[in-house]
Structure formats: C-alpha cells, structure tokens
C-alpha cells in the first residue's frame, strides 16, 4: 500500500483546477474521473471581488484532498511565503512545491527547490516537490525532508508525454519505496497508463483535461487509464521476448495436407 505522508488515496489521479471552460465542467471532470486530489493556487484579489470565496466553496464541494501549489514562484523565499499563505487559506499542510528556474521550459530551479523544501519540511509542511528525473536532485530532496517526489513527464502544458523514459525508469528503480507522482507534460490517457505500468504511484495533470474538447470525458478517460495502469503493474506483466511463441497449443491440431 502506497501512502502519501501517511494518507492512502482512494484513486491515484490528481487533477488541476485551472483553465476549464466553466466551474460546472470542472466539477463534472472531478466527478467522472474520481480524482482524489485537487491542485489549487493563491492569487491576488482586489477588495470586494469575492472570486476567491466562490472558488473556495467549489473546492470544498469536490470533497477531495486539496493540494495548493506555489506556481509562478522563482525563488525559495517567494515559494516559502506563498506556501505559508496557502496553508492558512486552504487549511492543509500539503504543498505542491514549484520553484521555476527557466522561463521557456518551466524547468524547476533545483537549488532554490531544495532550499525551499528543507525550510518547509522543517515548518511541518508535507512537501510534494515538482522536480525532474534527476537522481541527484531526488536524493537532495529526500535528504531535505520530502517523502514524496513529483518528477515531470515533460514540460508543463506541453502534452508531449514521457520525453525521457530512461531517466524516469532509472529514478523509479533507484528509489522503489518512495511514493512518486508523474507531474506535468502528459497529453493522453495512454501515457498515464504507461507511467503507472512503469511503477509510478500516481499521475497529476491539468491541461490535458481542461483543454480537451470534452474535458469531463477526457477526465474520465484519464481516471480509467490510471486505474488500468495501476492494475496492470500489480498483476505482474509478462517478460517480453524476441522469438515468437504460439499461444494456441499445436497438440491435437488436425492434419489437413
């Protein structure tokens, strides 16, 4: 049984709440996908705007674990302050730690990420770091107090799927007992099933669902794919082989020549 900071999740799909055509479609996507975690953020609000209050009501009605993020932060200090504000607003010590280091790829800044992860872990946060497949960085994050890792599949919002299979397989093999979530870059349910078959413990995505023509249907497809991949992994797949082997027995076949 995989626990995420002591919590067993009913399903292994984590879904973002951004970019949906409407709040109703967002809610439908969560209902149909059976996602068990919703990522959220904090943003500036003008007095009297009340948009945050409305969104907070919607999130509570989803009845899922909330995972606030530090999206858009570029330094450890900025991410730490954002995480503290998110903890107060969302009443959870779970934090998806994003510290962006490169504008074009949205690749995490590994140095600031580790600094922020260490401070937040010491502050009692349950840190879910958005990271890469880098094994040395993973080691530093675990040393900083992280008990979960969230390597990217591909840069955020690209929908490219897994762009470094070797790296992700190596990371999974290096830390077989650390819960790991593929976060970002997936575009299709088949890719979600693929990473679950590789042994990853969960999938986090947003754009692939929110920007689909029918977001709720795509969300359901991702939910099914994650479950299918998880079941396949547990079912212990056969070893591939180069030579063909008949699946139908030859014994008893009629001689017709």
């Amino acid at each position: 049984m995989t626990l995420f900071y002591g919590t067993e999740l009913p399903t292994r799909l984590m879904l973002g709440t951004s970019q949906y055509p409407s709040p109703a479609i967002l809610a439908d996507a969560f209902r149909r996908s059976k996602a068990s975690v919703a990522t959220v953020s904090v943003r500036r609000e003008a007095a009297g705007e009340a948009a945050g209050e409305g969104f907070w009501r919607l999130v509570r009605e989803l009845d899922v674990q909330v995972l606030p993020n530090t999206a858009g932060c570029h330094s450890a200090d900025e991410a730490i302050t954002t995480a503290r504000m998110a903890r107060e607003l969302f009443e959870t010590d779970w934090i998806k730690l994003e510290v962006i280091g490169h504008a074009d790829t949205l690749q995490p800044d590994p140095f600031e990420l580790v600094t922020a992860a260490r401070q937040l872990s010491q502050d009692g946060f349950k840190v879910f770091p958005y990271t890469t497949e880098d094994i040395v960085l993973a080691d530093r994050l675990l040393d900083a107090g992280c008990e979960v890792l969230m390597p990217w599949g591909a840069p955020i919002g690209t929908g490219l799927g897994i762009i470094n299979r070797y790296g992700l397989e190596s990371l999974r093999a290096q830390y077989p007992d650390v819960p790991m979530v593929i976060d970002a870059g997936l575009g299709l349910p088949s890719q979600a099933a693929d990473v679950m078959e590789m042994g990853y413990d969960a999938v986090l995505l947003n754009t692939a669902v929110a920007k689909a023509g029918d977001p709720a249907a795509m969300a359901e497809a991702f939910g099914m794919a994650v479950t299918a991949g998880q079941m396949a992994r547990i079912a212990d797949p056969m070893e591939p082989r180069d030579m063909a082997a008949p699946s139908t027995p030859l014994i008893g076949k009629a001689f017709l020549e």
């Binding site: 007095a47 209050e53 993020n69 504000m85 107060e88 607003l89």
Partner: protein
C-alpha cells in the same frame, strides 16, 4: 501614508494590518497576507504595524494546476 497593495500605491489611514484590511474593504473575506515578502498570519495581523512604502500582498484561493 502610502503603501503598495498588490502592486498599486494606495493612501491609507490605518496603521495595523487588521485595521488596514477593513479600511481597504476586505472585511472578513478569506484572504492571506504578506508584508514586504514575509507571511503575516491571521492571528498576527493586529500586531503588524505598517510603515510608509511597505508592500502588502493580499491573496485568496484560486484555480491552479
């Protein structure tokens, strides 16, 4: 005095953060605050004194990925 609220310069009367939020019209809205880049918890707002040119961030829950 003038302070920076969410990036905009604003002339205000209140000195403490809790009174300032009321003056700005946030009332009892669900917001979190940071002054000059440092988080100020809800319970600490009354003890947080603002000065000319301070930078206040006021944020609320929002969609995220």
């Amino acid at each position: 005095m003038k302070i920076i609220v969410n990036g905009d310069s604003v002339a205000v009367q209140a000195v403490s953060l809790d009174q300032l939020l009321v003056e700005l019209g946030y009332g009892d809205a669900r917001v979190a605050t940071a002054v000059n880049g440092a988080f100020v918890a809800r319970d600490s707002r009354a003890d947080c004194t603002l000065s000319e040119g301070d930078r206040l961030e006021v944020v609320t829950p929002r969609q995220g990925g």
